[in-house]
Structure formats: structure tokens, C-alpha cells
């Protein structure tokens, strides 16, 4: 197998390359650093969590005897006297997907070691994420004002409120954690920790710009999960 000067393996394409990587020693995923491998495996596990949440939501939607509320009406906003269905959700979705774009750009600039632009892009991503959570808080308070509770709601099946608060809450929790870590990563990029290989405060391990990519994986995942929640909860 050909090797580059840095010891990183030149990857072979196709099934032969796949078989070669997995039957080799040391690493099954060549040129993938440990943190990135860990994030992928964690996300696989997290996928099962969100899948279980969504499947459970579908099951109770089917098992409940009371009609399911119409999400288009419940999640509508009245703008200047006109009822616009799903307006807030549409904005939230747009913002979250945009944040994935800025995150991808941040990863790119990170690998180019452009500290300044990377920091700005990560901060912009965090800002998008925070405004998503903010709008979700607005949506929650609006629904709570209208009498929606986890155990009952004026629109129909009580499971509507239960599933809504549980699933969007769990997703919002993921976004919030993501925003916190984005801010931490942004600070590290800004200070130049990744250029110098400074040690982390807790882990005492050296970090590099791969951390931005690992962070990006998590962020894209949270975004992707939202697409499924949007499709199965709001549009269905």
C-alpha cells in the first residue's frame, strides 16, 4: 500500500480498498483520528435513541383513542391578521440548516488554519443554534399559554403534548449542548490552542483542528435529526 511522507496511508478506492483497510493492522478507518471515529459511533448510538423516540411517538399516535390535533393549525402563527401555518417552524428549520452550512465552512477554514474566519464561522453557527433554541422556547411558551401540557391539551389526544415536549425537548437539549461546545471550540480556535497543541483543561490531551470537524459532525447530526422531527411531527 502506498504511503505518503507523513505516514498517512494513501487510500485505495473500491471494495479492495475497503477489505484492505479492515484486514490491516492498527486502524480499521485509515487516516481517521480517534475523536472522529468516536463521534461517528456515538452518533450511531444517538440515532437509535432518536429512532426509538420517533417510533414511540408513532405508536402512541396510533394507540390513542382521541383524534390527533392538526399540527398545521396548532403550530400556525397569525401575522397581520393572516394565519400562516408552520411559519415559526419553517424559520427555525431554515436557520438550523443554514447553521449547518456555516459549520461546514468553519471546518474547511479550520483545516486551512485560518483562525479568524474559523472563529467567526463557529460563532455564527452558535448564534444560529442559540436563536433556534430561543425560538423553540418561544414556541413552547406559546403552546403552554394555549393550554398545552405534557398530560393534556385542548386540541385532542393528550399524547400530542407528551410527544411534542419530550421530542423537541430532547432535541433542543442536544442543540443547547452543541451551542455550549461550539463556544468552547470557538474560544480554543481564537486563542490558537489548536495551532500550538495546547492541552485541554479536563482531558489534559492535546487538541488540533480535527476537533472542529468532530464538532461539525455532531452539529450536522443534530440538524439531520431535526429534519426527521420536522417531517414526522410537524408535517404529518
Amino acid at each position: 500500500m502506498a504511503k505518503t511522507a507523513t505516514g498517512a496511508k494513501a487510500l485505495q478506492p473500491g471494495m479492495a480498498g475497503f477489505a484492505g483497510d479492515w484486514s490491516s493492522d492498527q486502524r480499521a478507518f485509515k487516516n481517521v483520528h480517534w475523536g472522529k471515529a468516536m463521534m461517528w459511533i456515538f452518533l450511531l448510538s444517538d440515532t437509535f435513541i432518536f429512532s426509538c423516540f420517533l417510533l414511540s411517538y408513532m405508536t402512541v399516535r396510533w394507540s390513542t383513542t382521541v383524534p390527533w390535533p392538526n399540527p398545521s393549525e396548532v403550530f400556525g402563527l397569525s401575522v397581520g391578521g393572516v394565519e400562516v401555518p408552520l411559519l415559526l417552524i419553517a424559520i427555525m428549520t431554515f436557520i438550523l440548516i443554514s447553521s449547518s452550512g456555516t459549520m461546514a465552512m468553519a471546518v474547511n477554514y479550520g483545516y486551512r488554519k485560518n483562525r479568524k474566519v474559523t472563529t467567526y464561522l463557529i460563532l455564527l453557527t452558535a448564534l444560529f443554534g442559540a436563536s433556534f433554541v430561543g425560538m423553540q422556547a418561544f414556541e413552547w411558551s406559546k403552546l403552554i399559554h394555549e393550554g398545552v401540557r405534557p398530560w393534556s391539551n385542548p386540541f385532542g389526544a393528550p399524547q400530542f403534548g407528551s410527544a411534542f415536549f419530550m421530542i423537541t425537548g430532547f432535541h433542543g437539549f442536544h442543540v443547547s449542548i452543541g451551542v455550549i461546545f461550539l463556544l468552547i471550540v470557538a474560544r480554543k480556535v481564537w486563542r490558537g490552542d489548536y495551532d500550538r497543541g495546547d492541552r485541554g483543561y479536563f482531558t489534559t490531551m492535546k487538541g488540533g483542528y480535527e476537533h472542529v470537524e468532530t464538532m461539525g459532525l455532531y452539529w450536522h447530526f443534530v440538524d439531520l435529526v431535526w429534519v426527521f422531527i420536522f417531517a414526522f411531527f410537524y408535517l404529518w
Binding site: Q26, W34, D46, V60, M166
Partner: protein, 599 residues
Amino acid sequence: MSDITQDDVGYVAPAENAEQDLYHPKSWITKYVFCQDAKVIAIQYASTAIAIGLVALVLSWLMRLQLGFPDSFSFIEPADYYQFITAHGMIMVVYLLTALFLGGFGNYMIPLMVGARDMAFPYVNMVSYWVYLTAVLVLIASFFVPGGPTGAGWTLYPPQAILSGTPGSDGGIILMLVSLALFIVGFTMGGLNYVVTVLQSRTRGMTLMRMPLTIWGIFTATVLALLAFPALFVGAIMMLLDRILGTSFFMPSIVELGEHLSYSGGSPILFQHLFWFFGHPEVYIVALPAFGIVSDLIAVHSRRHIFGYRMMVWAIVIIGALSFVVWAHHMYVSGMNPYFGFFFATTTLIIAIPTALKVYNWTLTLWKGNIRLNTPMLFAIGFIVTFLNGGITGLFLGNVAIDVPLSDTMFVVAHFHMVMGVAPMLVVFGAIYHWYPLITGKMYSEALGKFHFWVTFLGAYLIYFPMHYLGFVGVPRRYFELGDTQIFTESVGQLNAFISIMTFIVGFAQIVFFYNMFRSYIVGKKSEMNPWGAASLEWMTPEMPPGHGNWGKSLPLVYRWAYDYGVPGARDDFIPQNMAPKDVPMEKKARKSTRKRKS
């Protein structure tokens, strides 16, 4: 794999991973308490798991007191009995066996056996243990809240788990669910470590197909756990919401004590699906590490390479994959669609094929082996027999038509205790004896070890064999007492009393084990390096017990698989994994016969 490689050029690929950056402890606290060394974390995990396991052992005694001698012990109320059952089951399955195999043996063996200095993320690994300990403490706390621990049975089926008629429905069930959620969070941190370490930080020359089967078992089990625990996590969260906020995920419309509760429209069977989507892979999370470890014990102590290594690896992987599509065989009587039963019975019985393959291969490894009947080997052979027994009763229960009458009888209790209680525990004991010299540097007392084996092994059979019979005559499980039931003869009561006495004998015999471990640690004779003549990498450390960073100056290079025992032409009856072909001491005369054999 069994090719004789002496004449091959010992090529080892250049290093891809940078030398691992380790945290070097500076104080006693960071060395022994908040420690990032996987070996110390392993011992912390194992000690905590065994300690809580002893609580579960005492709980099982209390249950057996009631079952064996009803009406004799007034301090055991029906509610207590259900609390004992629940806590015993939950502790044994989750907090003891899962934590011991993956957190204990996984942490100790993975870095050593794949030739790494430590786990990939030592800090996360440390946090994993402390979250696990918190989960155990929360579980213990549930014994001291008003109403006591939950008595819902270890499966925690709603609606009864959170209704007021069930013991511990005040605080007990809440703490149980919180504890489970914490356990899963902690385990996920550890599990990510185990998987990444195996996949990404093996030493030079250590290919996946040169790993000892112990690592294959632990690795596959960890993958299963990472994908199965999410279902339990979600189930626990939803049940917490049902219990605390009054949502109705699992709760149908219910009348309790003449009062219509506010629940409506939930699906109790949804919880069963979530629980068993976790619960069945859980069986293999416990069994696969046991399979792996026992393969290594048998190979080492019969001085023979494991028969059919590749098949053994693929059997582990296939069993792991199949374990995700059999869960509803626990639910034949749950009222689910009967057509599901056909599907799940079929997939369940298919698992018998790779499992039987493993049992045959263990037997064929023993065949014509140079068997040393020392304590680890006795436990390993005990495991094969016990697992075979438990597996055969599994064929009964896997079939819908036979399962329906046997469901909820003592037969089920006997089956799963045989297959996932006794069998894995025998492997745990065997593994502890086998690796005791490595971990402590001392040798245990062989006589006490053998005594421990025979009492435990024969005792376990005397406990669980009669229980099958009780199940056949229809004795139900989870009953506080049988009372004046006419259909049961007097012999049922006598058998129950006999079983209870045996549990006390076997339980107390474990004192011999602990005495042996502690005494040998203090006054035992120092063990030589690699006392068993094992070929796998964990015995090749420069010091024994291995020091911080495991390998001294440089990482080992691996040239062969872990099972080069009795290689023709070689002088010794084993060749260590890290011995270069040119360094292997040969018998001069036999030189010709060492030519490469066609596989």
C-alpha cells in the same frame, strides 16, 4: 491462520498512530481514585460490580427463604418479596454482569490484548466509572426511600410498575429509572472507548483477525450495548414522564380501586417492545464476552489453537447481529400479533446454528489437547456444559407452542439462570483465576480454587436442575407462596426447600473464593511471568502486573495470531504473538516439517 509462519518474512507495517499521550498521575488521588489508567478503572468497575452483586446474592437468599420455607419467616412480607426479585434481577443483569464483563474485563484486557498503552480516551473512561458508581448509589438509595425499592419485577412492565398497588411505586421506581438512565450514560462513555480502541489503536501487526477471541467477544458485545441500550434509555425516560408528569405513553385508561385514573390511550406493549429490544441483545452483551473469554481459557489450558478461529469470530458477529431481530420471543403471551410469533420463533431458532458451532469448536479444541485440569480450565469446561444445557432449554422456550404453557413457570427461571446466570458467572470465575497472576503478580491457591469450582458447579446444578422439573409440573414464577394449592404434591414443597438449602451452601462457598483472592494477594507466592505459557499479548508486558502505559519503552510488534500452541518444529509448546519468526527457538531436527502448509 494456522499456517506456520516461521519461514515467512516477518514484515510489520510502519506505525500509523502517533505514540499515545498519557496522563501521568502526580498524586495518590489521581493514581488510585480519579484514575485515568484503564487497569485501575477496570478494578474499580469490577469491585463495585462484585460488591453490588453480593447484595443481589443476599436478596436471592431472602427469596429462597420464603420459597423454601413459606410461613416461617414473618419478616418477609409479599411486598418485600417482589422488591427482592426486582432488585436481584436488575442488579445481576445490568449492574453486575454488564459492568463486570465490559467495564471490568473490557477495560483491563482490551488495551493489553491489542497492544495499546491505554484506552483511546482515558479521561472519558474515568468519567464512565464515576457515572456508573453514581448509578449504583442511586439504586442503593432506592432501598432507603419511603415505600422502598420498586417491586415491579426486573422487566418493569407498565402499567403495574407505576400504579400504587405495586411496592415501591412512590420513590423506588423513580430512582430505579434514574439509575438505569445514568448507567446507560456512563456505559456509553466507556463503550465508545472500547470500540474506538479496538478499531483504531491496535499495535503494529495486530490485525482484527489476529485478535484473541476475548477481544472479539467484548468488542461485539459493546457494539450491541451501544445500539441496544438506547431503547431502554428511551423507555426509562418515557416511564419517568408517565410517573412524574402524568403523561400516557405506556398507560391505557385504567380504573384503580374504583377510581378512574387520568391516564388514557397509551400503549403498554410499546414498553415491552422497547424493553426487549434492549433486553435480548443484553443476553448476548453478557454471553459474547463469556464466549470469547472461555475460548481463550480453553486454548491456553489445553495447549491447542482454538479450532476454527475464523468461524468463531464470524459466529460471534452473526450471533450479535441476529440478537437484534429476536426480541419479541419474550413476548409470545403479551397479546401481540400471533404472526409475529412465527417470525421471532424462526429467527430465535436460527441463532442456535452459530451457537452450536461455537460449542462444537470448543469441544474440538479440547479434542487431543494437552488438557491441564486447573481451576480456570475446570470453570471453562463447566461453562460449556452449563451453556449447552441452558441453550437446549432455550430451544423449548423459543417455540411458541411450547413456550405458551411454560411461560411464567419455574422452567423459565431455570432456563435463564442456567444460560445467563450460572454460565457467565462460571466464566467470570475462570477468568479471574486465569488472569489473577497477571493482575496481582501473585498465584492463588489451586486447592481452594478447585474446591470453589466443585461446590459452585455441582451446587448450581442442584439448584437449577430441579427447578426445570418444578416448571414442568406448573409451579409459577414470581409467586410469593403457593399456599394450599391442590395441584401441587408435597414433593414440590420439599424440592423447593432442597433448592433453598443448596443456595445457601453455594452462596457461602463463595467465601472460599474471596478468602483465596485476598489471602493470595497478601501472602500468596509470587507468580512467574506468564505462568500459563499463554501466547496472547497481555502476558508479554515487561513487568507483571503491567505498569502505567503497559509496554515500557516501545509498543510490541505482532507477528502472528494469539493461538500458536504446539506448533510443529518449535521448541516450546507456544509462540508468543510478539515473537518475530526469526527469533522462534526451533528443534533442529524438525526443520523440514515446518514448511508452510496449505490452509
